[in-house]
């Protein structure tokens, strides 16, 4: 048998084995037969080759899903139609929300993170780059994902756990005294005591805003902080500072209606937030990063939102393949 045909056959057999063994119905006998087959020279390489490809698929899971999925819903469309971005509006608009009391207090505390209990069922959800997405969970809680965001849901008998891997999500949690609802993002652990809150992750910075009810947040080894309706807690990447501010929670949830709201935010903060939903990094150069912006941007691609910004601030944007740099005009 020639090398090439041999290799083909082994690859096919390997594919058959892997497909079989991934099934919930596979038995011990299957694994034993697989072990016997593996012992033959050349077979292990065939399996490794396929598994290496699967590892690549896993690495690029979000991008592949974005490219292959339809408009962010459960149903995927085949064959792939090019995704149209229909939010390119030329005139942005400002909404200034009045009546905000901003009281900032910085707290620093120390405590351990609780150990993770058993995860039984795990599901992964992600929103495409162009649409937000709503997910309903088995307990009737719902999670709304902003563009480009990804979560992992792990429900067990002990706890309902969600991991916010990237981006932004808002949670409406049904009450279950027996099973706390826990959201983890980076080093932050948010336990829900109430019902509605929003979590935004930009890099290692986490911002949690409560609309109703109460939550308890623990960041890394710090002691839990409680936040109630109308409060926003921010965990910064620099050290263990936890900032608690009084906010209008609707602003944090405004993205559900297609707007990102900012209050006296520095351009550096705005850039960071825009980067949270996008594969493109938005950066502000030192000479402009302290410019303040208050207003609302229409949720869109990073380029679209930056061009809205340019109408209000004396900046210009230099767009590269991986990043957009905001400079002075």
């Amino acid at each position: 048998m020639t090398g090439a045909k041999d290799k083909e056959d082994r690859l096919e057999a390997a594919a058959g084995w892997l497909a079989r063994l991934q099934s919930d119905d596979s038995t011990e006998a299957d694994w034993q037969a697989f072990e016997e087959w593996l012992a033959e020279p050349g077979n292990r390489d065939a399996v490794n080759s396929i598994e290496a490809s699967l590892a690549d698929v896993d690495n690029y899971k979000t991008e592949l899903h974005d490219q292959l999925a339809g408009m962010g819903g459960e149903v995927l469309e085949f064959p792939q139609r090019p995704v149209k971005r229909n939010r390119a509006r030329a005139s942005p608009w400002i909404v200034l929300v009045g009546g905000l009391a901003a009281a900032a207090a910085a707290l620093v505390i120390l405590v351990r993170m609780p150990p993770p209990p058993a995860a039984v069922s795990e599901s992964v959800y992600s929103a495409s780059a162009t649409e937000t997405r709503q997910v309903k969970l088995a307990d009737n809680s719902s999670i709304w994902l902003n563009r480009g965001s990804a979560i992992k849901v792990q429900f067990s008998d002990l706890e309902r756990r969600v991991i916010l891997e990237k981006g932004e999500a808002s949670f409406t949690v049904t009450h279950d005294a027996a099973r706390p609802f826990v959201v983890k993002s980076g080093d932050a652990v948010i336990t829900d005591i109430g019902t509605e809150f929003n979590v935004l992750r930009s890099g290692a910075d986490i911002s949690v805003t409560v609309r109703s009810g109460m939550i308890s947040l623990a960041f890394g080894a710090n002691a839990p902080v409680t936040a109630e309706a109308g409060q926003q807690v921010q965990f910064g990447s620099k050290g263990s500072e936890i900032t608690l501010t009084q906010v209008n929670p609707d602003d944090a949830f405004a993205w559900q209606k297609g707007r990102l709201v900012f209050h006296d935010a520095s351009l550096a903060e705005v850039a960071k937030r825009l980067s949270a939903y996008s594969k493109i990094t938005v950066k502000a150069e030192p000479q402009v990063e302290e410019l303040r912006f208050s207003g609302a941007l229409m949720l869109g691609s990073a380029e679209e939102m930056v061009s809205q910004l340019q109408a209000f601030l004396p900046i210009r944007a230099e767009t590269g393949k991986e990043e957009i740099v905001l400079k002075g005009r």
Binding site: A15, S53, Y60, T62, V124, E323
Partner: protein
Amino acid sequence: MTAEASPASSSLLAIYVAKRSDLVRFFTTRTASAAEAEDIVQEIYLKLARVEPETVGNPTAYIYRLGTNVMLDRARSRRRATARDGEYLNTSTTTITGIEPEAETPSPEAVMEGRQKLASLLRAVRELPAQCQRVFVMHKLQDKSYGEIAAELGISKSAVEKHMMTALKRLGDHRP
């Protein structure tokens, strides 16, 4: 090192103990390293202490699958540790992974390579026959089980398995 085992998981642990030498032998064959096999089987033990077996179909097969995932996770961590140029890191600079610190910015070569790899993967998946592509995406990108896929598409589980086999073979072909 002891792990606290809930009463419910002790039956899984009992099976583990009975099959331990089988598992070591299997993973030795699978990884060609007795030392690696030992480490994997030990990690299986630690994970088993936390699982609720009511949801586990065939417990022994489940343990083998768990071990396979451990094996793959370990291989991935090793690749990440040795690939300093960011070759295996997700090249999207705004993606944040769980507990890892902010990744170093990958070199332009690594970024290009990452793009090419993604493009090649995308091509491979798009070239799959329609139903096969659907099954693959549901299983590998949406983490649905064969049972769920079968129910959603209105086909048998063995049909799902056959489609996965086709997809895996094609994926394997794409790699040199």
